[in-house]
């Protein structure tokens, strides 16, 4: 993505800031905020919806804060400026035998962004969310004050900032506990399954022995094959299991320009899903693969968001509590399969019991579903409203980092403690997302 475009990953809504302020040094101050204006820290813009947008306000581009500060190779603790990308961190820590404790599905996110969205990974059922491994960070407020926050020092601000969507101030640096690994390879088993119910069975039997689990489901298949999919489970390969050399840097493809909007349509989406299922079915079994291929398969195509064309897309991600998850998930998949929408990349994962530290953290015990939808006007919005209904009845929640359309009520249901959070917001910080979900409530 061109840096000066400043859209979100889903490229919807197309809202522009009125100004962009660059930060290059962590000692620098924030720009003065004219009355009526607000600031929002910005990293690489990998959030799907509008929580990285600030229409009419100032975006503070912090990608210039991309330096290492310290790396303790004995304890595996890093301290980096918040604008550094996880990809950049990996190039330094992997050769020294460390890996990120929790990693999202792309490595092109900033460290600060990962903290501010309290991201989760394929190992959530074991270790919890990203925020669980943050030891400390520094918060720069619009008043110019700086707070070094740890779980014990400024503890409330610490918990508000983790998952706090960048609204509590600008994170200048982060101290993170890493995990050690023997190799950069992953031992992965691919298990195809025929029905969405099988996912729960597979998850149950895999979650104890496998550190990383995730499933892809075909949200366009209905009937007896409803929610058929592929279950991946992986562990870091040990020395004797992996080749004796590090994996090669993967080749990256690029989508050079916007694809025409008709390219991805309900019909082609159905066939793509079908083809992908067939492809993965052939690959079933155990294999040792480079970490990139297991954790970041989509990073192989940079700017793949352009495939949806100018109209953009939204990702719908919810979490359903353990007691209601099976029925609710089946109902949601069925509703998606029944409707003629362009739906791709259904991803399901069981979250574990480890509590997330943030007040507005999304990960919580249950099962999460994420699906990408091309924006096709009314019928997309109607379907998503229906899905909201299912989530609400099941007692679930929606994920702000992916959202571009949830209603204020849905936000309040998802994050019952949001009023507590408000007390820690920086009065001069705001985002398009925040104004949307608190409209009429503040």
């Amino acid at each position: 993505m061109r840096r000066h475009e400043y859209l979100s990953w889903g490229r919807y809504p197309r809202q522009r800031p009125s100004a962009v302020w660059y930060l290059w040094w962590r000692s620098e101050r924030l720009p003065p905020t004219p009355p009526g204006m607000t600031l929002l820290p910005r990293g690489y813009g990998r959030s799907y919806g509008d929580c990285c947008l600030n229409e009419g306000g100032i975006l503070v581009d912090a990608t210039g804060l991309n330096r290492w500060i310290e790396f303790n190779a004995e304890e595996g603790v890093l301290r980096c400026e918040a604008g550094i990308s996880l990809a950049d961190i990996l190039t330094v820590i992997l050769p020294r035998g460390y890996f990120l404790p929790v990693t999202p599905g792309t490595k092109w996110v900033s460290l600060g962004g990962a903290l501010a969205n309290d991201v989760h990974g394929k190992n959530h059922h074991r270790v919890g969310s990203f925020g669980c491994f943050v030891r400390a960070f520094e918060l720069l407020r619009s008043t110019g004050e700086r707070y070094v926050c740890t779980p014990t020092q400024h503890g409330e601000l610490f918990r508000a900032t983790i998952g706090g969507l960048g609204l509590t101030g600008l994170i200048t640096w982060v101290e993170l506990q890493l995990r050690s690994v023997e190799t950069a390879w992953m031992r992965v088993e691919v298990v195809p399954f025929g029905h969405v119910r099988d996912f729960f069975r597979l998850s149950q039997e895999s979650d104890r022995e496998w550190e990383y689990t995730v499933a892809w489901i075909d949200v366009t298949a209905g009937g007896r094959q409803l929610g058929r999919g592929v279950f991946w489970r992986g562990n870091h390969a040990r020395c004797e299991e992996a080749p004796p050399y590090p994996p090669r840097e993967p080749r990256r493809m690029n989508v050079p320009c916007d694809a025409p909007s008709w390219l991805l349509n309900p019909w082609s989406a159905r066939w793509l899903n079908r083809f992908y299922y067939w492809l993965q079915k052939r690959r079933s079994g155990v294999a040792v693969v480079p970490y990139d291929r297991f954790f970041y398969p989509l990073d192989a195509v940079s700017r793949w968001n352009r495939l949806y064309g100018r109209r953009g897309f939204v990702q719908y991600q919810c979490v359903l509590p353990p007691t209601t998850a099976e029925d609710a998930l089946e109902e949601m998949v069925e509703r998606i399969a029944r409707t003629s929408v362009t739906a791709l990349l259904g991803v399901v994962k069981r979250f574990g019991e480890v509590p997330s530290p943030g007040i507005l953290s999304f990960p919580r015990p249950g099962t999460t579903l994420a699906v990408d939808f091309a924006i096709e006007g009314e019928r997309t919005w109607r379907l998503l409203d229906e899905l909201d209904g299912v989530v609400r009845r099941a007692g679930g929640a929606l994920y702000p980092a992916k959202d571009a359309r949830m209603s204020p009520e849905m936000f309040a249901i998802s994050f019952p403690r949001w009023r507590t959070f408000c007390a820690y917001c920086d009065p001069n910080f705001s985002s398009s997302f925040w104004r949307r979900v608190t409209a009429g409530l503040l």
């Binding site: 840096r3 210039g64 500060i69």
Partner: protein
């Protein structure tokens, strides 16, 4: 491993070049204007694998002391294998038209200091009989423009002097590379509106690194298509050029 002297080490481009050298455990000597920023850059390079053999706070306005600086760096590094002169300042030209003193000072920062540093490097390199010097000039030095009058003049001087030094050091096996970046997305250009001509400092640095390692081309345009843009710009007749505001 390389022994690298970075002058203007806190500039966005030099920082990225420093990282590329750090990844191969090079020895670095960093020179910059602000101690605090210099320390941040040094820490970053250190974690990425570099050995920081020295850090000097130096201001381009102290160009009379260039010889001491080069001598310090040479002693710390043992030898100057790679030198990158990357400092510079892009003043707001419209504020300078009625401030003749500042205008001249800007010329010193961008041009005189570079000439002083190169002059101090010549005897060292001549004796070493190896090494490569990269100097960041600019495409702005190819044609004077009202918007960048003194910056362009400074860079023109740098380009011309570099060519001279290149010729002088050629028989000694020392390479001099004149680097001409176009618009780069750095703190120096933060006040300019961004458009498609802007390149990332990472991309520019990667190209500079390749050129320093290979020792050619003599004149490096980054990104490469600036060569053709500037060829076009040079063809515009002056009576017309003076009337257009670019």
């Amino acid at each position: 491993m390389r022994r690298v002297l970075l002058i203007g080490a806190t500039s966005a481009i030099a920082q990225e070049v420093g990282r590329l050298y750090a990844a191969r455990q090079s020895h670095l000597y960093l020179v910059g204007r602000t101690a605090e920023k210099l320390e941040a850059v040094a820490a970053d390079c250190r974690v990425r694998g570099a050995v920081i053999v020295g850090v000097s706070v130096w201001d381009a306005r102290w160009w009379e002391k260039a010889t001491e600086l080069i001598e310090q760096a040479r002693q710390a590094l043992g030898m100057l294998e790679v030198v990158l002169i990357a400092h510079g300042n892009l003043p707001r030209q419209d504020e300078l038209w009625h401030a003749p003193q500042q205008m001249v000072e800007q010329f010193h920062v961008n041009a005189t200091s570079v000439i002083a540093l190169l002059s101090a490097l010549v005897p060292v390199m001549e004796q070493q009989r190896r090494g490569v010097i990269g100097v960041i000039s600019s495409v702005a030095g190819e044609r004077g423009r009202a918007q960048m009058a003194v910056y362009g003049a400074g860079k023109a001087a740098v380009t011309a002097f570099c060519a001279g030094v290149r010729g002088y050091l050629h028989p000694f096996g020392v390479r001099v590379i004149t680097i001409k970046p176009g618009y780069v997305d750095t703190p120096m250009t933060a006040h300019l509106p961004k458009n498609f001509l802007f390149a990332s400092p990472q991309r520019v640095a990667r190209r500079i690194y390749q050129a320093l390692e290979k020792g050619y081309p003599d004149i490096l345009y980054v990104p490469w298509w600036w060569r053709f843009i500037m060829a076009g710009v040079r063809l515009i007749p002056e009576p017309l050029f003076k009337r257009i505001r670019i």
